[in-house]
């Protein structure tokens, strides 16, 4: 009797554990009509998706949203690798447009959007970045750029006026502005997060987009063909410029993270930072009323060569494996609409890539928006989004070593060696890139 009881208890324990583990994970409602969109998204944009969906759901009560946030693009790609390995992709996703997303399209993971009609509401831009094999693999929701972000309150106190027609036009004017800030008592006007890959490489990337691509519009393709190297004069000059900025950057920058940069900019300790336009949204979360301004990059020698660096930012894609393609397309159409994109844009404070929207643009973007609308500066696309995976990490390591005291030549040699390593490991990627490359 005792042993039977023991057997019964043990079986019960197994059942109790097995039921939740092997239970159907479906979130369908009791009547079976509810459809759930599993949506993988960058967490910075999650609020926008959520806000738009809440409005969408008012007219589509049978649709639910299961939002899966990822902190960074690398996190997103890591999660996607897990999904791919498991053979179960989400229904939709939103992430930074780039080479990896193009590979998702090449491998058939996304449903092409050309037949949905949503692309008609996209502002003109570098469509190469959102296309594969002649069709669109993602809907670009926002226009992203890299720029110089400043705490304008501190700038004003130093007697500097910045507006749509007054901003540094070239590198020497930027140095003048820095000198004015130093004269006003700001010891280190530039804040850089040495620990953060985006922050520590931002100047280098802006320099590449604006100056190096200005000299050779096919620079990276030519680099892959062996016509340029990371340790030739063209790239070494970047360090010469960055070196001129070093005295304006705090010596403790290597230990600083992005939060430290926000603290320095908001407090006015270091009122200037380099980064994507979307850093404004992060600053707003901490200091909603701060007078912040984004300025176009100004790293060319001649003011006539100045450009504004812009491109499609984050895009929404529908996975080819979804069981509810019609629901996903319908929600995407709503996101692409005036109403949906406006809700999304207001929640994320982004510059939208949709033609029709009524977003209350953040005043921090006034200068950038003015330049875009009046086309007062030519646009430099963000080519790095098409680079071989791993480049940013290589650049981060190199920049950190340079800040730690290594000389520019050694650092550039190291970048070249690491880039060669990536190229050797991904010959198919290089071949595909060069085969499909359109000369500029």
């Amino acid at each position: 009797m005792k042993s039977v009881l023991k057997m019964f208890v043990s079986l019960l324990v197994i059942l109790l554990i097995a039921v939740p583990v092997f239970a159907n994970g479906s979130t369908e409602g009791g009547n079976g009509d509810t459809k759930t969109i599993t949506f993988l998204s960058l967490s910075t944009q999650g609020n926008g998706i959520k806000a738009a969906f809440e409005e969408y759901q008012k007219t589509h009560p049978d649709v639910e949203l299961d939002l899966v946030p990822c902190t960074t693009v690398t996190d997103f790609e890591t999660v996607m690798t897990g999904y791919i390995a498991a053979g179960t992709l989400p229904d939709m996703y939103l992430t930074q447009i780039g080479a990896v997303q193009q590979e998702y399209a090449a491998n058939g993971y996304v449903r092409m959007l050309g037949d949905t009609g949503v692309m008609e509401n996209v502002v003109p831009g570098d469509s190469e970045t959102i296309m594969y094999n002649g069709d669109y693999f993602t809907f670009p929701l926002i226009t992203e750029g890299v720029a110089i972000t400043v705490n304008n309150e501190v700038i004003k106190e130093a007697g500097i006026v910045l507006d749509e027609t007054h901003y540094p036009r070239c590198f020497s004017e930027f140095l003048e502005m820095l000198d004015q800030l130093v004269a006003a008592g700001i010891q280190y006007p530039i804040a850089i997060a040495g620990k953060d890959a985006s922050s520590v490489t931002s100047f280098a990337f802006q320099y590449i987009y604006q100056v190096i691509y200005g000299k050779d519009p096919n620079w990276y393709a030519n680099l892959l063909r062996g016509e340029h190297t990371w340790n030739d004069e063209l790239y070494l000059d970047m360090f010469e410029k960055y070196g001129q900025l070093k005295p304006y950057i705090s010596p403790n920058c290597l230990g600083m993270d992005q939060n430290g940069v926000y603290r320095a900019v908001i407090s006015g300790e270091s009122p200037i930072m380099f980064g994507a336009l979307n850093v404004v949204a992060s600053i707003r979360q901490i200091a909603p009323d701060l007078d912040v301004l984004c300025l176009p990059s100004c790293f060319t020698d001649d003011p006539a060569d100045q450009t504004i660096i812009l491109g499609y930012g984050d895009g929404v894609s529908i996975c080819s494996t979804t069981d509810i393609p019609d629901v996903c397309i319908d929600f995407l159409k709503y996101l692409a609409s005036d109403e949906g994109s406006t809700i999304y844009g207001n929640a994320t404070q982004s510059i939208l890539a949709t033609k029709e929207n009524h977003v209350n643009s953040d005043p921090a973007n006034d200068i950038v928006t003015y330049i875009m609308q009046n086309e007062t500066l030519p646009v430099s696309p963000m080519y790095s989004r098409q680079w071989i995976p791993g480049v940013k990490e290589v650049m981060k390591t190199a920049q950190q070593n340079w800040f730690a005291g290594a000389d520019a030549q050694t650092v550039c040699d190291e970048i070249q060696a690491q880039h060669d390593r990536l190229v050797a490991a991904n010959p198919d990627w290089v071949k595909n890139f060069l085969d499909t490359y359109t000369e500029k």
Binding site: M80, N252, G255, N401
Partner: protein, 293 residues
């Protein structure tokens, strides 16, 4: 002996083990085999297809400087952490044994162990950036004033320091458990024989807490080799690659550089290193325990 009855009981007992066994097979054995499988391929983590390349990944990593640097960092981190965690864990356990309010102090020292590594990393990242930096300026220590986490010569050492701060309480508890098994009469006898405090510790206490010492030595090394999140949040592996551990290289290779096959091979190597170090430690420390007994 009634074998049929014994087998029946064994089967019941086995049933109790089944849930744990299922979890172990699904979440440990299956991923481990999956990792070994992918380590023999050139999978990039994106494509549905891949090629079997045999042992190429293992052959390549043997002379890959990109891997050997972090491997060396991991060895240093594991060795230094092991020493610091055990020395201070034992020191706190013994030191707090006869102190008034010892329960309070034990709880205080144990508290950091329950915090998540990421949280501890971010807290110390802030501490190094602001208060420690201010303190460094005050006392004129430039390395601290300029944020020690940003110094290539100090970043790994600071990682060891923070790992010790976080983990020492856990090791202290294991030593406390060991100390409670030491017969007090042995100490009393040693006192009567005129043994000094150090002599009593070295000749009576330390040999008798050998099992706790064995557990702590093995676990501290094994955990240090697997450390990822603390160093990620503290230094991100930088500056440069000065504090990058092998676990971080595995992540970078697999997901950033899109070399999932190569990253898996690195994971298998890390697994083998941990197994080898653990077996060596076990053999040495068990022999020591037997010698004492």
């Amino acid at each position: 002996m009634d074998l049929s009855k014994r087998n029946r009981f064994s089967f019941s007992e086995f049933l109790f083990v089944v849930p744990a066994l299922v979890f172990y097979l699904v979440f440990v054995v299956y991923p481990l085999l999956g990792g070994i499988f992918y380590s023999l391929t050139d999978w990039n983590g994106i494509s549905p297809g891949f090629n079997f390349i045999g042992l190429d990944n293992y052959i390549n990593l043997a002379h890959d400087e990109y891997v050997l640097g972090p491997l060396w960092n991991s060895v240093i981190f594991a060795f230094v952490s092991m020493i610091l965690l055990n020395v201070f864990g034992l020191l706190f356990a013994v030191g707090l044994d006869n102190v008034a309010g010892k329960s309070f102090y034990r709880a205080l020292f144990y508290l950091p162990s329950v915090l998540g590594s990421l949280i501890v990393g971010y807290i110390f990242s802030f501490l190094f950036t602001v208060p420690f930096s201010e303190f460094g300026k005050m006392i004129g220590w430039e390395a601290l004033a300029n944020n020690a986490l940003g110094d290539p010569d100090l970043a790994l050492a600071m990682g060891c320091f923070v790992a010790t701060w976080k983990g020492v309480g856990w090791y202290m508890v294991i030593y406390i458990a060991g100390l409670q098994n030491v017969d007090r009469s042995l100490h009393e006898a040693a006192i009567i024989d005129g043994a000094s405090a150090w002599k009593r510790f070295w000749s009576v206490t330390f040999p008798l807490i050998a099992p706790a010492f064995t557990i702590n030595m093995i676990l501290s090394v094994e955990r240090a080799f697997k450390e990822y999140d603390l160093m990620f949040s503290l230094t991100g592996g930088g500056p440069g690659r000065a504090s990058e551990l092998l676990s971080m290289t595995i992540y970078n290779e697999s997901f950033t550089n899109k070399r999932a096959g190569y990253g898996s091979a690195l994971g298998v190597i890390l697994f083998l290193i941990i197994v080898a170090v653990t077996l060596i430690q076990l053999a040495m420390l068990r022999r020591r325990e037997n010698d004492i007994n």
